[in-house]
Amino acid sequence: MDKKRGAERVQPTREAPVAQPSAKRGAEHHKVDLKGHSESWLRNHSEVGKSALAKLLGTPVATVMTVAVLAIALTLPGFLFTVLSNVQNLTQGWEGETRLSLYLETSLSDEDADRFSRSLLMRDDIAAIDYISRSQGMLEFKKYSGFGDVLDAMSDNPLPAVVMLLPKSKNVADLGLMRAGLQALPEVNEAVLDLEWLQRLDAMLAVAKRAVFVLGVLLGLAVLLVIGNTIKMEIESRRDEIVISKLVGATDAWVRRPFLYTGVWYGLLGALSAWVIVQVAWLMLETPAQELAQLYRSQFQLSGLGFFGSFLLLFTSVLLGWIGAWTAVRRHLREIEPR
């Protein structure tokens, strides 16, 4: 009984060798199972990857020239992006210094104004206040403007009392809300946020960002073209190999593979060189920047590409290498058919 069940179980596997002999000769004879197939696929990839790198290193002068061009094209946007992000860090520090000026109603008596300014101190969204009374304001104005005589001639002091606040929040939206709230108070004629120049700087930064982005796209295109053209020449020089491989049964993917790897290697080498250049440039800037920051008693610290920036640089460059190679291969490989 046992034996029979065993035989039955074996049957499907026994069928295969029985059916095979008729179609057994030739390449199919070398039947590769799924595991063997993925194994040989992996082996092919690692071999092709290695030999593509070996070929690049085998012609060091040509490789260095190409990689240098790629590095320059990648360094420029990489460096400018880090400049922008540093400027942004810096202005974020400045936003903490933002002040709110409250111009009080001129109808308010000095005592009321003083009481109002003290009441503001109780609020927990304000870090500090500085009260400038009408007469104080007048004195300062006279001192700095040189219009003293004109003002003396006026019977009434035209200047309002001013309360300067240092808000606790550094968030632009919070500050806007706070300003509106204070403006609504009956004692306050006008509340002004000293933020305009910062907003202007932000707008300028946005323009600069856009410009760097456009530059980045253009230089990315240049990387694409350089790699595409290099691969095209590589294809030309290996024409015989391509023809013969196709004659003995190479698939398009097999023929394509070494060139795609070459493109990826170029992308990687270009990105690594660009990375080194950018980091070295920032290292050189670090000391003078720190001295400058000390002069201004700022906590500001320069940051280089950082983890995310480095990753982005490598990733885009490798991707560009792959795409450049792929388009070149797509355009030129089909033309090469055995005749």
């Binding site: 030739g26 590769v32 013969i244 196709k246 049964g249």
Partner: protein, 219 residues
């Protein structure tokens, strides 16, 4: 194994290279293809491995109708056919060994398995001691034999040879032809284009004769 049905081939620049050719080569058969220079021998072989498309008619290799194959199928057809080219088509940027192992690399054989098969193939054509050399350093007869080793290394079902003895002396020519007979004896279907009539006649196999693109004799 190979079946031609009213096959014609017209090259864009030129006249008809093949006109209404029909024949069947059975599995395990060996045949010679002969005819004057320009008769269409190479063209016929190129049609079998889809290096060219016929202008008219149908070609069947194994159970595959070639007109039904897509571009992606072509590599797999070619893997089932071994070809010895008239101009041997070797790569001079690598050793004899690497030239012969190219079809195996393409099919995804493991390096150990491939090395064993390459040595066996080189041994068959008597070039085992030349495996590390560059094919450029070989005589044209030796180059031809490297081409043969490459054609048989993956044990194809069909073996096509275009003037395999073109550069060989009579003695070596016969030896090579015997080699083809040997492959044929283990079941490979073999079609050899040659105009070495005296040698072919002496071997007593089926002979397809082309004249200006027409099949004028079969037997």
């Amino acid at each position: 194994m190979i079946q031609f049905e009213h096959v014609s081939k017209h090259y864009d620049e030129g006249y008809d290279a093949l006109k209404d050719v029909s024949f069947t080569l059975n599995t395990g058969e060996l045949a010679f293809l002969t005819g004057h220079s320009g008769a269409g021998k190479s063209t016929l072989l190129k049609l079998v491995m889809l290096m060219e498309q016929p202008t008219a008619g149908h070609i069947q290799v194994g159970d595959q109708l070639l007109s039904h194959l897509t571009r992606n199928d072509i590599p797999y057809l070619r893997r089932s056919i071994g070809v010895v080219f008239q101009n041997h088509q070797l790569l001079f940027d690598r050793s004899v060994f690497d030239n012969v192992s190219l079809p195996l690399q393409i099919c995804g054989y493991s390096p150990v398995d491939a090395a064993r098969r390459v040595r066996a193939a080189l041994d068959k054509v008597g070039l085992l001691n030349r495996e590390k050399m560059n094919p450029r350093a070989l005589s044209s007869g030796e180059q031809q034999r490297v081409g043969i080793a490459r054609a048989i290394v993956h044990k194809p079902k069909v073996l096509l040879a275009d003037e395999p003895t073109g550069n060989l002396d009579p003695e070596l020519s016969e030896e090579i032809m015997r080699l083809f007979e040997q492959f044929n004896r283990v079941g490979t279907t073999v079609l050899i284009a040659s105009h070495d009539l005296s040698l072919i006649r002496s071997m007593r196999h089926r002979m397809l004769t082309l004249k200006s693109g027409r099949l004028i004799a079969d037997g």
